[in-house]
């Protein structure tokens, strides 16, 4: 199995891009990725592409990517795996190179959530994720899926809504310095706790915004990476995990077994442990989900996520900064782009060029959980050795 590295990364800002369609966002992200390649990119070098997108707005995804990015001569594969789409697109592309099939491939992720009326979004997205006869008619909207878990988590663990609010405050603060983030303003714990309730126990500031955006990564076999850069970021591990889809079949809702499975696969492949991670981009579509994920990813023991939050360990400057980009919570969450954009952030973090840099970060972890809450993808990256 050949080693795989990221040699270029770029993304559009995450925002409500009313003036830009998916056909605009894709070439924008692609061009930024190409521009990030230290030694330059000839587009003709790209041998294949994987494209993560949940909901198509203007036609079938693979064709849209090939057409808008000028990649008509190469195979393009659409990847859809709920909110784990982005990191699963990375995983598929890694397999394409690791197998020896390709040397240089493109991974993109994009979604345009704000293409339909905000009032219609609940049903459109619920229709993609819920059992049509059983769950869908009950009004199991996206926040409710995760709230069912977090309500039970708050019941069993010492964590409180205040701890959740502290996660929101942290991620908003991280986003302030990230020019690509959607919500670049500080908030306070009181603001979070007193915000209008969306789905108990989530207030407005516990929830990700609705976002549009695209992100791109250029992957190369490690043995050819030096054509593009002297400072590649190695992809050490990838993992995908699944779980029962209907919530009533999940025996313990204080954890996401999909994440546990994905993390086990990724750490196993990398030969790393959670203690090796220096910086992480964790799926914080709702604040409580970030806390549960600390435990599922092995960053702390079961029901001890609140301790990391209280200690500030997961803030930039702490022992394990999580979501220095602002996370889904404040950077934004166009689902297909989210996982790819996490790797864009980590590419910069591990090369020392991030907007909100974590000092000396060498190992980075990206994590998605979705399909509420039946799929997770984890990617482990390693930065270039410090060069003199």
């Amino acid at each position: 199995m050949r080693e795989v590295a990221i040699v270029g990364a770029g993304m559009t800002p995450f925002a409500e891009h009313f003036s830009l369609g998916i056909k605009d966002l894709l070439p924008m992200a692609f061009a930024e990725c190409a521009a990030s390649v230290d030694k330059g990119l000839d587009v003709a070098d790209i041998q294949a592409a994987w494209f993560g997108e949940l909901s198509t707005t203007d036609g079938f995804p693979a064709g849209i990517l090939a057409d808008t990015c000028g990649l008509l001569e190469v195979p393009v594969t659409h990847v859809e795996n709920a909110c784990a789409t982005g990191n699963d697109a990375v995983r598929n592309a890694v397999m394409g190179i690791a197998s020896g099939f390709y040397d240089v491939v493109l991974v993109m992720g994009a979604d345009k959530v704000r293409e339909s009326a905000s009032k219609d979004t609940f049903w459109e997205w619920a229709g993609m994720t819920r059992d049509m006869a059983w769950d869908y008619p009950l009004g199991l909207v996206a926040p409710a899926n995760f709230a069912l878990h977090v309500a039970r988590y708050l019941h069993e663990s010492p964590a409180t809504r205040e701890h959740m609010a502290m996660v929101a405050v942290k991620n908003h603060h991280h986003a302030v310095s990230n020019p690509k983030a959607q919500l670049r303003f500080d908030i306070t714990v009181d603001q979070v706790l007193n915000a209008p309730v969306v789905v108990e126990p989530f207030g407005l500031y516990d929830c990700t915004p609705q976002s549009d955006g695209a992100a791109a990564l250029l992957l190369a076999a490690a043995d050819v990476a030096d054509r593009y850069t002297n400072r590649p970021v190695r992809i050490r591990g990838v993992g995908l995990g699944l779980d029962r889809v209907m919530h009533q079949h999940k025996r313990d809702m204080t954890t996401f077994p999909a994440t546990v499975r994905a993390a086990k696969a990724a750490f196993g492949m990398a030969g790393l442990t959670p203690a090796d991670v220096d910086v992480a981009e964790v799926h914080d579509c709702f604040t409580g989900v970030e806390m549960i994920s600390y435990e599922d990813l092995g960053f702390c023991s079961r029901f001890e996520a609140y301790k990391l939050v209280e200690a500030g360990a997961t803030s930039v400057g702490g022992s394990l900064p999580v979501n220095p980009s602002g996370g889904l919570k404040a950077k934004g969450h166009p689902p297909g782009a989210t996982g790819v954009a996490q790797c864009v952030e980590l590419f910069e973090q591990l090369r020392g060029s991030a907007a909100n840099q974590v000092d000396g970060a060498r190992i980075g972890l990206a994590h998605n959980v979705g399909g509420p809450t039946a799929v997770s993808a984890v990617t482990l990256l390693e930065g270039p050795a410090a060069v003199g």
Binding site: W123, P137, L138, G139, L140, P196
Partner: protein
């Protein structure tokens, strides 16, 4: 002569002393199922009718009387039988009518008929009588059809009110009753109860204090019968709708009476946000129907494991297992987790609560909406039972399933 073995009544918990209001998840069919199940339970001494076996309580026919049948095309029989736990081979008659029609349905019913009457407007309630070979004896006494259409409703639901209550009072039911009394001569008894009219009119013509009735539609006749059965009274019982009147005489005997009439509570504040119609897949509806409306799990033949919803399985050796049988699930359980949706969701009244309920003793959990309690009041660990409700209306299709009704609804917002 008709013998009534058991009578049961059901009132929604919402409303006030002036009248009950059907919950947003209730309609004539779910109201009828509540009353019908209670009547079968009363007759069989059971706590739950259960499903599977043909005809709990020996029921062989069901008559539903209402002016508010949800599906005027296609009919409501399948949902009614499934909700009652009765065999789908049983004959169902859906009768459009008010209080006189309910009495007529009773007196023309053969033994082993479950007569149910249900009303949604203006006051909600339902009552059911199980006709048997013995029990409370009821004979037809009088019937008079007269026309005074002071309120009309077209097939399309368009309502017109003539707007002359005194005309209705003087030339409606009371005039019909007087006409029947004059036909019967001076020896005619005054009625003990008068259903289908307001309490003041009933008191004006009845002997003594007539029973207070919570509705004025079809179910009011059976609410009146329940009251007479409880007080062991014999005598005439009349029922009116506009100017049409039917009368029966309660002769002798006894009927078991079960009342499911929780205390009235104010209707919780709710907001409805219009939006696109919620789509429905009728293929998915049809596949799920039996398990969903009868509340049955699939029991795998090979392992005995329960799946809810029922499903195919693939064994470790790759063998496909499709041979499950549907078995009734317990209808009591405990809340494992729950949330309250407060953000406006187009097409649904908000707020609403969703819970995952651990059913007693079977290791099966169910995701369900909460009924019979204000949103946000149900907590993890609360006990309750699963009841048939209209969980949604999707593109014009009433979608029935089970909701969680807490045992002790707490009204304090938590």
């Amino acid at each position: 002569m008709t013998h009534v073995a058991a009578i049961a009544t059901y009132l929604p918990c919402w409303g006030s002393a002036r009248g009950r209001v059907a919950g947003g998840d209730e309609d004539a069919v779910t109201l009828a199922v509540e009353a019908g199940r209670a009547a079968i339970d009363a007759a069989t001494g059971g706590g739950s009718a259960g499903g599977g076996e043909a005809g709990p309580g020996g029921v062989q026919r069901v008559v539903l009387v209402s002016r508010e049948l949800p599906l005027l095309e296609g009919g409501n029989a399948a949902v009614l039988l499934a909700g009652l736990g009765l065999d789908p081979e049983i004959e169902v008659s859906e009768r459009l009518g008010g209080a006189p029609a309910a009495l007529d349905a009773l007196t023309s019913a053969r033994p082993r008929t479950l007569v149910i009457a249900a009303d949604v407007q203006p006051c909600a309630g339902a009552a059911a009588a199980l006709v048997a070979g013995s029990g409370l004896q009821v004979v037809p006494a009088a019937r008079l059809a007269r026309s005074l259409p002071v309120r009309t409703r077209s097939a399309a639901g368009e309502v017109h009110d003539y707007g002359d209550p005194r005309l209705l009072r003087e030339r409606g039911a009371l005039a019909s009753l007087a006409s029947l009394a004059s036909l019967a001569g001076d020896g005619a008894d005054k009625p003990l109860a008068f259903a289908g009219v307001d309490a003041r009119q009933a008191a004006a013509v009845c002997a003594g204090q007539p029973p207070a009735l919570p509705t004025t539609g079809a179910s009011s006749a059976l609410f009146a019968l329940a009251a007479l059965a409880e007080s062991r009274s014999s005598g005439p019982l009349f029922a009116a709708e506009q100017a049409t009147v039917s009368g029966v005489r309660v002769v002798d005997g006894a009927a078991l009476v079960r009342r499911v009439e929780p205390a009235a509570r104010p209707v919780p504040a709710s907001t409805f946000t219009p939006g696109k119609e919620i789509p429905v897949s009728l293929a998915a509806y049809e596949r799920a129907f039996s398990a969903k409306v009868r509340f049955e799990a699939g029991r795998q033949a090979s392992t005995g494991e329960l799946d809810f919803p029922p499903r195919y399985r693939v064994g470790q050796d790759g063998t496909l297992h499709t041979d499950y049988t549907l078995v009734p699930l317990p209808r009591t359980g405990t809340v494992y987790t729950g949330v309250t949706v407060r953000v406006p969701v187009p097409g649904l009244p908000t707020p609403y609560s969703l819970v995952i309920v651990e059913l007693d003793d079977v290791g099966v959990r169910v995701l369900a909406g909460v009924t019979g309690a204000s949103p946000g009041t149900v907590q993890i660990g609360d006990r309750g039972r699963m009841v048939l409700r209209r969980v949604a209306v999707r593109s014009g299709v009433p979608d029935y399933g089970y909701a969680f009704c807490p045992e002790q609804p707490e009204e304090a917002t938590l």
